[in-house]
Symmetry: D2
């Protein structure tokens, strides 16, 4: 991503799932189909190695393969963001350098975790990453996963020191998101599947919806309507997508945890639509069963989503 | 560790800090001194790559160097446990295999994190690791870092399936610890610095105290007294160590977070005692400043701990 | 409130602070001035005995006095909601019956707390209150205070059984709020000071902003613009109010906790504006000091808010 | 309680359940039987209106009746502690004054809740209560219910200012409990059912076990053994009681929450043993069903607990 585009990251940037084959390796053909499907829908970027991409579960070979395939398949058409998400600064720098060397247009970095950092340490983390990595950095706020938030004060400091070029906010906290918009001119993208229309209307530069894997066309329509000030159209699209989002609650919670239920549902839906060959997820997250997949197929039907035909 | 010793892991097993030199690399000489200091004190094992060892902050080269140095310096005298701590199953297996190839007697594994697993997925995680790794596995319960606990039901299942050979419990929850002791015959080691005497008296096989880096002699005395039923002697030792543990609260919390305050204090104290050449910690955790180090030196004095002379 | 209006509770409904005199008793004259100030601004209802009204801190006499004064001062001009907020069902029923006897148009009820109820027990709580009390019930979701949320499933059940006539949502979770709007036709009011414009645009029936004590005119303008589809006007008003909301962060947190900082700021601002004679809060919450009050006065100035002249 | 005994509160002090009759009123005869049962077992005090006594669910008449019956039935034989547990200072003072007027030997007070106090406000709360109430105050740390803890610093301040005469610690945190013992000479009682033996061995003045309702003889034996330094005898008793404590996990969690499951189990067990006429709990907590009660009866059998014969 050229400096200019990096600074103005925008639009619909789905956090791609990482398709696996029957051996547990990255399914390159399925991942290429997923990229094509997204580009055909008109997305403005893609994010590989995010939470929806099972970044926390990928081994070294899987991580590398996923980035290579996506960078190759995108071919420069849109920016490719790559997650450099790990517990500590030096580990993040290792991932970020590899991502940059593989062609990432920007790397996406959370607060350190496991080590319970305070705000001073979080800012310092970004200072070290910024200094060590030759790629723009996007700050990623996802307290549900890392158990520490990026406060508005921290984000304002990251912006003031120009340590990051954008924010991905998956906090679910619209009030905090708007505070960032008021206090900085950082492009801010929401990770919310459920108030994406609102976020754009109040100033979000873009959206990074996990559900965008399944219905990129819907989120592109939503984004365009919201940008154009067509609030009712955007809200109608949002309502349809919110109903579709019920796929993440289909899995039996005694068998499959919350994260697996969401990731598994995205993959199951993409398999139903014919984009992925297999719905497999990495251990210890199990795939949905046949009955759950059937329910997901019904919810896809209800949302008007059928098989994907070649682009 | 031979199968028998693996199954009966016991005694004082300090989770070693990872000394760094002025370039941020592992300081091999300091780490060798630390191992000698521990062995001289009579510890029954060592744990490299744990939370106190900054496992979440070490890069690939640091992690490998730390394990190599410790395995070499221990020379088979006591079991060497190595942390294989990461967010997902496949990543843990990568670390665990490397640890085994470098000579680990056992690997230490937490629940997956970042991905918010449920109990079924946690057990499955250990099933996969057990099947893939040629080394005994120790389950590590540390909810403050991974934000999910190992319930007594999960631990009972791990024991029943013989997926792990021991438990390290850093939950701080003595009631839950005793439930494990009642329900399984798994050797259970407490990570508590502050009720280690009690834990041994109620049946803990051993203790894994971060503060043991600084005062291994104290914890060895405590362990021996508690095992011998000399409760008052053990309690007196525990009280002295609890007062010493105030070193973890010395750092200014606006500058240095909780984890850094504890790790930094262990390293600062070991530097004061002459075991480590430098008190440096990995970014983004900063070292304690001169005044804080002075306070720590005073607390060492109060606890009767002076410079360490060659063993 | 007649059944019809109860069912269509709407508009700006500020949760009134409870002014105290120098003896700690309810300052009736100040409370009457506050009601006049609110009615003059065009609010559509008032809520006495809410979180902003220090309901958790009022003794029996204070609670009764506050309701009597407000019911009298409002004189039927708008609906008066009264908090019946307590830990258990029978205690809530006691409060609710008293409120109804004093003229409340509706009572506002949270989930039980202290007792860690599950969803089944929460719904049952509302069933008992509904059956025992001769006044419409408004469900109040405020997990920051009661430490249990009203899930969308619980709210849907409350709506389906017609146990409540409206929802006040202070969860801060816009996605959950919109799910309620999709699944029920319950009038839903947001407690958010910071995305009130958005909430109305997506379907909120009204807003219950603590900051509305200080600037009811602003929230009335915001509400009217949002209802009229004038999004930019509403957003500009929202931005001004969000900047004014910084008054809740003025107090020194080592001296005054979060809740006290907010309540104290509302009262200090109303004293500066001449509506309240004293900014006193109930113990153990202390009032802001002179310097903090000075800062608040500056923020009022910046927001264009001067002394209130008689209505 | 005379000043001296107040300052040295000790021994087994069960937090009594509040028996209800078929109309939901306090069942005076059952409560008198419960007091006799406890006194016959040799308890050293009783606590009425605690968490196990459903204090959060009792209405005004129930609360008063429970205290009157217990004070009357105890007849000065042992100290009677009465809970003055509520969200705010003035409410607590109201309860505490009533308790004192009804004959309470001491009142038991938590941190304020709902209002998210900081440490300064918590200490100030106890200052106000101490100044306003003519009865000794016992500090009650129960973060699971009030969602704020009494830190060791707060407790040390309460002790230094002589605002309280004892601590009841239901935090479950043995390390923190021992810190209080090291830093103050306040009599500290543990609320733990599961490490009561250990708590006494490390210096607890007494124990306040909810399960003591069901098996006071067991806790008296445990206490006496622990005080006498007979650790194995105490541990054996503790193990038996820990197995009995499984009664709190019998209830179906989809129907009955955690608190109701525990309270309901205590009442069901006391009904099985013939001490209570009815196992009823206050709404919204439902009673256990027949099958659950049957399981509890089996656990009582296993623990060697049969019907209680008149004292």
């Amino acid at each position: 991503m050229a400096p200019d585009s990096a600074r103005r990251l925008h639009g619909v940037v789905p956090p791609l799932v990482t398709p696996l084959d029957e051996h547990g390796d990255v399914d390159r053909a399925s991942l290429e189909r997923l990229v094509s499907f997204q580009l055909d829908a008109g997305v403005h970027g893609v994010f590989v190695g995010g939470s929806s991409g099972e970044i926390a579960l990928l081994d070294t070979a899987q991580r590398r393969a996923a980035v290579e395939v996506v960078v190759g398949a995108v071919g420069g058409a849109v920016p490719v963001l790559v997650g450099a998400i790990d517990t500590g600064t030096r580990k993040v720098i290792e991932h970020a350098r590899q991502a940059a060397s593989l062609g990432a247009d920007a790397v996406v970095v959370t607060a350190p975790f496991y080590v319970q950092p305070n705000d001073t340490e979080i800012v310092d983390h970004f200072r070290h990453v910024h200094a060590a990595v030759d790629a723009p950095v996007v700050a990623y706020d996802i307290p549900s996963a890392v158990h520490v938030g990026l406060s508005a004060d921290v984000i304002a400091e990251l912006a003031a020191e120009e340590l990051v070029v954008a924010l991905k906010d998956s906090s679910g906290d619209l009030a905090a998101f708007r505070e960032v918009l008021r206090r900085t001119d950082l492009p801010a993208l929401t990770g919310s599947e459920l108030f994406a229309d609102t976020a754009v209307q109040v100033g979000a530069a873009g959206i990074v919806p996990g559900l965008g894997n399944v219905d990129p066309h819907g989120y592109v329509r939503l984004y365009q309507a919201a940008r154009a000030g067509e609030h009712r159209t955007a809200a109608r699209e949002q309502d349809r997508l919110a109903r579709l989002f019920r796929i993440v609650s289909v899995a039996d919670r005694s068998r499959i945890g919350f994260t697996a239920g969401a990731l598994g549902a995205f993959k199951a839906a993409l398999a139903v639509r014919g984009v992925l060959a297999h719905p497999a997820t990495n251990p210890p997250l199990g795939p949905l069963d046949a009955e759950e997949t059937h329910t997901i197929a019904a919810l896809l039907d209800e949302a008007g989503l059928g098989p994907v035909t070649a682009g």
